[in-house]
Subunit: 896 residues, 2 copies
């Protein structure tokens, strides 16, 4: 029957051998490939088989139908599994039960839930009871199967089953599941089936093959489900990867007190410490641990002691199985050369491995694991640098709570994901998303989280749940996202309807500010002051390795001395963009700015500018002092003037009064300055050309501050003056001459020559094309990729919300081009400008100051495009340092 | 003294020979080169010399100083002129008097006024009186010189001199200049000089060399004057061309009744008829004719008779001089192979030629001259095609007054420039410019025009003056600009202060609508209905020659059947852009459009779209019927939805009522749809992707109309459906699939397959770069160069007013990039897209539908870039046909 010459759709594993291996992730999915690998290693893996991702691709390319030869292949594989597991699928005497699990190339938490105990029906359950001599176990397994299969495959609401269970317990007058016996479970199973019949209008399937194909279809169906699509979009996973399906002989963790199920990490996923770390539940099936329904026990004795739990650890309760698990964990880590996250089941004292994969970890843990594995000789420094996700580093760079600050503790839970965050309490994912889109910080508070909450968890600054452990959905997802998270805060009572949470005497209402400390598992009332993180230890080590490997310089976008200080602490090597307009918004200054805008003539404008001069000079002085010895790029005024004047009647009246002007005049000026498309309007160098006196004032403030700072520190200021929005060389020439004249004037007055470079932003397609010509005047270019993206794509970032997310959902674009540079379009213009700019001036200095400068994928592009540096926000500087190193390593590797 | 080996700064001419020749325009200016050429031809040219344009360039490159050896060269040349003219510069007995005229490479009306009679002072004027025996002539010449020199060189207001002259006439009790005698002019000259001394605080120069260098300096100075700069900007003349200075021995048209001065065209500049055409004044100096102070007489008897003048023509009054002029005119035309505009003076019966140049002509005349010269064997068809300025053709294509329409004649003047125009009467150039910038049509009414009025004449739809003849400033400039013009409407009384003009019982106030007919010299009250011009005769001939030579196809941008009819009459070969949104604004439809926008869900939108479907279908049906057999490109909805809903409270209330909705809902929707930068917002294909039902409705309307029209006419509709604002191939793919599905549905319903091509606009830089990929789906590209210019340059056309004109004034850019395509920036993107697009699809059809499609320089670019067609507004179609032919000829020539 399996003599087809087409693709091999089904891969077997088990009994110390397998058709596949770890490298076949793309075909077998991560789970399937690793089950094969573990089998090949001789580890105790229940036998099974994997239906490949190519079947999924075939399924969606062929109107949701299977390859014709799949059925025979699955049946043959089932037979083989039965032989190894000493059973037969659907056999009433020795029934083979299987689990069905999805398994894509990349781990996708919460895509398709596992179905366990598949193969049970009135006949086989009786056989199972007879075979195991444990009727209670058999019918408990049966009702679990009906419940899981109905929820996952048949999409029957799980509330129906909970209702029945509650009713049964009430009738019997008991509270715990363990108080129910075999006949209870048997009756419950019948009631479940009757409910399914009632809800669906058709019976629950008793045919085991119908059960199996239903579950396989549900796995493939979930690949195109809304949740999976959202996850793929957020994680940049292409749709055509597809998912595999793993069918595996059941082993049971619920066969009594010598059975258990659990998950473990080969190192602590929160701290990275080299200890076996995990949780398990005695007499339970796998989903009980992950779902957070029962609070699990620690694996190690030391962990139990640390948490002051009285319930025995696995190390104490099942010393043999624990020793075997420890041995296998070490073996797997050495084999995969990375920290592993494993699932296991102990069936009547025997350990079985159900899964291994690279363990998700916090950035702190990633750092520690990477650096310690280098010290252990397991990986090289290059590998360590490549191992840490730069985006995840971000979470390390968030502030922590000030230990000395007064705090009002509301409650304590588990320290599920490190970092601290403050924000308004909200109780649904929708609220979280909505508030975040308004720019408000929120903490998402949930009883427990589920995949439906992912978008809200993304939008929130932190997550707090009442239930669940360290490996609950909330904890795993939050760590992946780098969000601080506290789970299992069991004393909290949450009322979603009323929008309140209470703990003892505390009541927090929707919108009240709370603070969570994900590293300590604490929840506080109000906003608690925070401290900047220390940049030492593993972090410093990895950064040192990264710095030794990167070619790109890393600068920062900083407008104030405070920004500059932060950035220097994070390792910035200069300022790549100092926006001067932010300085204009200070309460004291905005008045002078508005007087300038309202002035009727040049003399009036100059009078107002004269007031601004000393303020601007002192701004620059502060920055130059901090950045001494490093380059500082200052961009002259960029935004259109109407941004500085108010538009509502009330504000106009207020400002007119303060400015000693008439509201009517202010309103007229506001109307005259209003623009249809301000992004493409009278701004940037166009302002400097219409009102050269503005740029002349700024140039004077810069030069005077430069000479002052140099005199004070004795160190030269490496000054780069940058002209924004240049499209024509003539614009730059015009302004270069004006600035040079100011420099000469200052030199005459001070007797010392201001040394500076003049350059331009490349943020218009025309500027990129004219780069050779423009480089005749410009001594440096800085790519303003925000505006370059807006003009090249013809997309206003302010207005893109109404369609860009839809483009991502529909798969019309792969990435948000404002987050990761559009390589094909904007990228080509950057490459053209680099090539032509260097033709015009071989030693042209090239950098990027758009927000892409802090995005790892964009940084890789900048490396490949041959830029000299990237510039990003102060908190992103370490991210950029690491990403730049990875870009250099990746390119070296590709060239090898 | 002239043994220098550097450049030759001074070129002599006169007495049948010259240093220069006609080809040396760049060096000698047009006037100087032609004076040299006429001398070489043996024509009677008063001797003189030309100071080259290189001196002007030197002057401005060297801090406004002259080459050191210039002085000696000028003195030597003056000596030579004196020898030929039998006099000596500054000599009291036989004084040589000279004229000083500017003369740039291109004729620039109104740059520097001529100075005549230079070399007169108290001594030489006495000598001139003695030499000529005509004291009145001598002192009249002297006072003219003082007046002209003071005005032009010393910049003393001419009002001072008019005041003195009026005072003298009043004291003597006379009205005419001719009533003043020698002693009067002598006294007047003294009073003039005293006034200059008083105004300037220094005496009028008596030193003849001081006079000469003053005049030369004034010529160079005027090159950088504001007027000259404006003219150069409007006419795209580079600043570094410079002007030459012509110094020439005086001949006098004011030596009594056997003397005269005049201007003549070798053909009628208004109609092109092959007759000598011109005006002259007996006993006058040259400026009298041009300035329009005295109304001149006709040159030919037939012209006098046609105008029913009683004053003798030159043909009758001076038959010998007339015969000589006719002979020379023929000779010049044959020599230059083009219609000439000559200036002459008759001194005591002897004819002297002072200038010849290519005559400015109306488009009608240009057509006739070009076609007739081909028939006469003077030029080739190719030359004829190259001879007509496509931009000027525009004036032929404007409507003329409906002869049968009722009209209320206000007054009659001279038919100075053909064409008819209606608009609000305005009385200053500033008003004209202001109103035009508001989009209002205006007629500029002036006593007479001067170079200060040029910007207002540009802004006006037509020009009406009280004074001046057919060669007055207003007439010459208006013809050059293609503006209808009536001059010499002497019965009008204009009160600029009060903003009124009166003629008999009529009073027209500022803002009242008037209509002028420049072909008949008539002025009417109100708006007179107009007729479309006939496209036959010379026009048809030249178009036929043009069509035989062009490679580019010419299509039209037309949204209605009426537009299509006009365009076909003008020779359009298809529709290159049919904008469907204009159809939505019809009163009947806008309601359904708004219902669609206000709908809460897809069903509501579909219901509203169902109402629009039959309306859109009938629009397309009308267009397809007219354009049968020709290609029609229909662009699906492009503008953002907020353009269709009102924003003021009153309008919102009104619309809400009509749409059966709440004002609050409408307002909320308006706010939700508002965008920061609509140009870069939710529009074009982005709308079609968010609301596929809109494009589906449009596609259905198009296909149904296509099948209807094909059934009706039996001719296929060459349908091209165009998707706007594509930046990603995926956008086009998504919409292509939807449209194909509609086509299939219509085919099923109708049993006939709609045949169509699908293509896209290239209007974003990214689309240009991705052209190869996009051409995988698109069967044609149409360059939307309006938006491509906006995005490439980062300039919003709506907001560019505040800085682009300043850029032009400051010389930062040469052309308005929204009028003539920016070759370096936008042009390179077009070239990239052409190359890559054809790589992706070798038979890709390429066109342009931005407004550049009607601009001759841009059309030349399109030819060179290898496009297949250009598309422009219906009235520009003939302009485009001719420009396309010229582009083809110019390129053939360059390749030869």
């Amino acid at each position: 029957m399996t003599t087809n010459t087409g693709p091999k759709w089904v891969y077997n594993f088990g009994a110390g051998q397998a058709d596949g291996r770890a490298e076949m992730r793309a075909l077998l999915g991560g789970k399937g490939a690793n089950l094969a690998e573990m089998s090949n290693l001789g580890l105790p893996v229940p036998p099974g088989f994997t239906i490949t991702t190519e079947v999924c691709t075939y399924f969606y390319k062929n109107g949701e139908t299977y390859p014709p030869d799949l059925k025979a292949a699955v049946e043959a594989a089932l037979k083989h599994v039965g032989e190894l597991a000493d059973g037969r699928f659907g056999d009433a005497a020795r029934p083979l039960l299987v689990s069905v699990r999805s398994g894509a190339r990349a781990s996708m938490p919460g895509m398709m839930d596992t179905v366990l105990n598949l193969g049970l029906n009135p006949e086989t359950v009786a056989g199972l009871a007879a075979q195991t001599g444990d009727e209670r176990f058999a019918y408990d397994s049966y009702r679990r199967f009906i419940q899981m299969y109905s929820g996952v495959v048949l999409e029957v609401d799980h509330g129906h089953f909970e209702e029945i269970l509650e009713d049964e317990k009430e009738q019997k007058g008991v509270e715990l599941d363990t108080d129910l016996d075999a006949s209870d479970w048997k009756r419950i199973a019948e009631r479940y089936k009757a409910k399914v019949q009632k809800v669906l209008g058709r019976p629950f399937p008793d045919d085991v093959y119908e059960q199996l194909w239903g579950a396989i279809g549900a796995v493939f169906g979930s690949w195109m489900g809304a949740r999976a699509k959202t996850y793929r979009r957020l994680n940049n996973i292409p749709e055509d990867w597809g998912t595999a399906v793993n069918v595996q002989a059941m082993v049971f963790g619920n066969r009594g007190t010598t059975s258990a199920t659990g998950v473990a990490f080969t190192r602590d996923p929160s701290t990275g410490e080299r200890i076996l770390y995990g949780e398990f539940l005695i007499n339970a099936q796998g989903e009980d641990v992950v779902a957070g329904i029962r609070t699990p026990q620690s694996i190690t004795k030391s962990a139990r002691e640390a948490s002051r739990s009285k319930r025995l650890s696995m190390e104490e309760a099942m010393p043999d199985a624990f020793a075997e698990l420890s041995r296998i964990a070490s073996r797997l880590e050495a084999h995969y050369r990375d920290m592993q996250d494993v699932e296991f089941t102990v069936q009547e004292g025997t350990l079985f491995m159900l899964q291994t994969r690279s363990g998700k970890r916090t950035a702190r843990a990633a750092l520690r694991v990477a650096t310690e594995m280098v010290n252990e000789g397991l990986i090289t420094e290059d590998e360590a640098v490549m191992r840490v996700d730069p985006s995840a580093l971000d979470q390390l760079l968030h502030p922590t709570l000030d230990p000395d600050a007064p705090k009002e503790l509301i409650t304590t839970g588990l320290a599920a994901s490190p970092g601290a965050a403050s924000g308004e309490a909200v109780f649904t994912a929708e609220e979280a998303e909505h508030a975040a889109s308004d720019g408000r910080d929120v903490i998402l508070v949930r009883l427990e989280t589920s995949p439906e909450d992912i978008h809200g968890m993304h939008a929130a600054k932190g997550i707090l749940t009442v239930r669940g452990g360290m490996t609950s959905h909330a904890a795993v997802v939050a760590r992946g996202m780098g969000r601080p998270c506290v789970t299992g805060a069991g004393t909290l009572k949450v009322d979603v309807e009323r929008g309140t949470m209470t703990a003892g005497s505390f009541t927090v209402s929707r919108g009240d500010i709370i603070t969570i400390d994900g590293a300590a598992g604490k929840v506080y009332r109000g906003r608690v002051p925070m401290l900047l993180p220390e940049m030492s230890g593993d972090f410093a080590t990895l950064m040192q390795w990264a710095d030794a490997r990167r070619r790109l310089g890393i600068r920062t976008n900083a407008d104030t001395p405070a920004d500059c200080e932060t950035a220097r602490r994070y390792g910035a090597e200069g300022v790549g963009l100092c926006r001067t307009e932010h300085m204009f918004f200070d309460a004291e200054r905005i008045l002078a700015v508005r007087q300038m805008i309202l002035a009727d003539d040049l003399a009036g404008r100059k009078a107002a500018l004269t007031k601004l001069l000393p303020m601007q000079r002192s701004d620059f002085h502060g920055i130059f002092r901090i950045m001494q010895g490093l380059p500082v790029t200052i961009r002259l005024l960029d935004p259109p003037l109407h941004e500085f004047i108010p538009h509502s009647d009330e504000e106009i009246a207020e400002v007119a009064k303060a400015a000693g002007s008439e509201p009517a005049k202010l309103r007229a000026r506001a109307i005259a300055l209003a623009e249809a498309n301000p992004m493409l309007g009278h701004r940037g160098c166009r302002l400097g050309i219409s009102y050269p006196e503005i740029y002349e004032m700024q140039a004077r403030a810069i030069f005077e501050a430069q000479l002052d700072a140099e005199a004070e520190t004795g160190t030269p200021v490496h000054l780069e003056i940058m002209i924004p929005l240049v499209g024509f060389k003539s614009e730059l020439d015009f302004l270069r001459d004006r600035i040079a004249a100011v420099a000469e004037a200052v030199e005459k007055e001070r007797g010392k020559k201001p040394v500076y470079m003049i350059g331009t932003m490349i943020e218009l397609p025309r500027a990129a094309l004219m780069a050779k010509e423009i480089a005749g005047t410009a001594e440096f270019f800085s790519f303003g990729t925000n505006d370059l993206t807006q003009t090249t794509l013809g997309v206003s970032r302010d207005d893109a919300g109404s369609f860009l997310s839809e483009y991502l959902t529909r798969g019309l674009i792969e990435r948000d081009p404002f987050v990761t540079i559009d390589r094909k379009g904007v990228g080509e213009l950057v490459e053209i400008a680099v090539k032509r700019g260097r033709e015009g001036r071989p030693n042209l200095k090239l950098g990027i100051c758009g927000e892409h400068g802090g995005d790892p994928d964009s940084i890789r592009f900048c490396h490949e495009a041959g830029l000299d540096y990237v510039s990003c926000s102060p908190f992103r500087v370490p991210v950029a340092r690491l990403a730049a190193a990875q870009a250099a390593l990746a390119n070296t590797r590709e060239k090898d």
